[in-house]
């Protein structure tokens, strides 16, 4: 069957309703903000804004949630989501490690120190993930899709990052050592092989957990076709197979590195937004050491439209909004209003997410995904500690009236 025939078949699928108001609003927001970025900054920033938007669509339509993937493995003993994440890390490692170490000037990987700050921060972040209901990307794309509980999580996530930035210098004075790029020890090919072996071992453990509980493996992460729809309809209204999301997310991170010089990150922008809000209220942020360091000081002083993580986050929000509108599911998750303890979980979870992200040098995207794609030891330690924190968070969820 030709591509055009497949597209036509998708268009003729009955019963597809989009939310025209949300789609139009998201597109208007995209045009308005994109135009402003184009006029006031530079073409590469517009490209990052577009990439952020596509990533937002991929996260929403692919339902690519790190938090739910981990929880499904622990609670339901199903590993498709976790295996999809491992495939994403492996693919990105194959693409981005050679890029970073090709000798091209101006490319900086997501490497970070290893020590007390990383261990404590990532553990706290993992705990916050399960209470707040999402990681960095998960919080953003669900907010974009109109989830009210996640708006509360995001507000306190931002507050947590600011608090974390104030305390980070103290944490950095605790035991720790400089970044450990695996390439320095194993070389480029060696680092990729070591990482693929590590990911393979984790996948084996995930498979064993699933087989032991169910006797078989659900191989949803390997599907290439949407369920019961044509390609075109699936592309626009979801749900995407994991493989589509994996390809888009891997390509998006590689393009972000090529265009901005650094891999995809999310939570530093929250830091900047929170600090700017406090400055608007008259707080002098430069009294805190973190905000005297060159990069944070630059980001705080200048426009958010010149800060790559901020611009990509704006795109991500609008992309998720557009995707939710195309799927006619905007604000769907807020039909059942969350009650007291669920809101409390958002407040506590958000603060833990923010504080943990700053101490742990990022979230599932900036520290884990981009960290492994940069072959940095800290990403693996982050992964282990955040998963441990997540286990505790899963145990605490019932008290907050959150379903497991």
């Amino acid at each position: 069957m030709t591509d055009s025939a497949i597209l036509q078949r998708g268009l003729q699928q009955p019963g597809w309703q989009m939310d025209r108001f949300i789609v139009a609003t998201a597109l208007a927001g995209f045009a308005l903000l994109g135009g402003l970025i184009w006029l006031e900054t530079a073409p590469f920033m517009v490209a990052l804004f577009v990439i952020g938007t596509v990533l937002g669509i991929a996260l929403y339509h692919g339902a690519f949630g790190f938090t739910a993937g981990w929880r499904n493995l622990v609670v339901k003993k199903r590993g498709a989501g976790m295996r999809a994440q491992l495939m994403l890390f492996g693919l990105s490692s194959l693409i981005m490690v050679p890029m970073l170490y090709s000798g091209q000037a101006g490319l900086v990987g997501a490497v970070a120190p290893v020590g007390t700050s990383l261990v404590v921060g990532s553990f706290i972040f993992g705990l916050g993930m399960q209470l707040g209901g999402g990681c960095g990307s998960g919080t953003l794309f669900t907010v974009g899709a109109g989830n009210i509980r996640m708006v509360v999580t995001l507000v306190f996530f931002i507050a947590g990052t600011v608090l974390g930035s104030i305390h980070l210098p103290w944490w950095l004075d605790q035991p720790g050592f400089d970044p450990v790029p695996l390439v320095n020890t194993f070389g480029v090919s060696g680092a990729i092989i070591v990482q693929l072996l590590g990911l393979g071992l984790i996948a084996r453990w995930v498979n064993r957990v699933e087989r032991k509980a169910h006797g078989n493996l659900e191989r949803d992460e390997l599907l290439w076709k949407g369920q019961g729809h044509g390609v075109f309809k699936t592309l626009l209204s979801g749900r995407w197979p994991f493989t589509w999301a994996i390809l888009i997310l891997a390509a998006g991170n590689a393009l972000t590195l090529a265009i901005s010089g650094a891999p995809w990150s999310i939570t530093f922008a929250f830091n900047v937004w929170g600090a700017k809000a406090l400055e608007m209220m008259g707080v002098n942020m430069s009294q805190f050491e973190f905000w005297t360091w060159e990069y944070p000081a630059m980001a705080l002083k200048d426009s958010v439209l010149t800060n790559a993580p901020s611009v990509m986050n704006f795109g991500l929000l609008l992309g998720a909004m557009l995707a939710a509108g195309l799927a006619n599911r905007f604000n769907e998750a807020s039909r059942n209003r969350p009650e007291g303890r669920q809101f409390l979980a958002s407040v506590v979870g958000g603060l833990l997410l923010g504080y943990g992200a700053r101490l742990g040098f990022g979230c599932n995207i900036g520290a884990l995904f981009s960290g492994i794609a940069s072959a940095s030891l800290h990403a693996w330690i982050w992964f282990a500690c955040a998963f441990a924190g997540s286990l505790l968070g899963i145990r605490l969820r019932p008290w907050f009236r959150l379903p497991n």
Binding site: L33, V108, P179, G261, W293, L305
Partner: protein, 64 residues
């Protein structure tokens, strides 16, 4: 199907976010530079390649 949201509230929320972005931008060195003002230091490519972490943190080995 009944809408799960208020369109007016969505417009107001997005409007507030846009206003905040504009206020921040209009008070920035980049806007001043684009308006023809000299002697301002912009930071279009906000990066510190000497930093030890994506957030700009220094290396533990360099801390006293």
């Amino acid at each position: 199907m009944e809408r799960a949201y208020s369109p007016a509230r969505i417009i107001v929320m997005l409007g507030i976010i846009l206003v905040l972005i504009m206020v921040d931008h209009l008070n920035s060195p980049t806007f001043a530079f684009n308006s023809g003002q000299g002697n301002v230091e912009t930071a279009l490519s906000q990066r510190d390649e000497t930093a030890c972490a994506p957030c700009g943190a220094p290396c533990p080995s360099t801390r006293d």
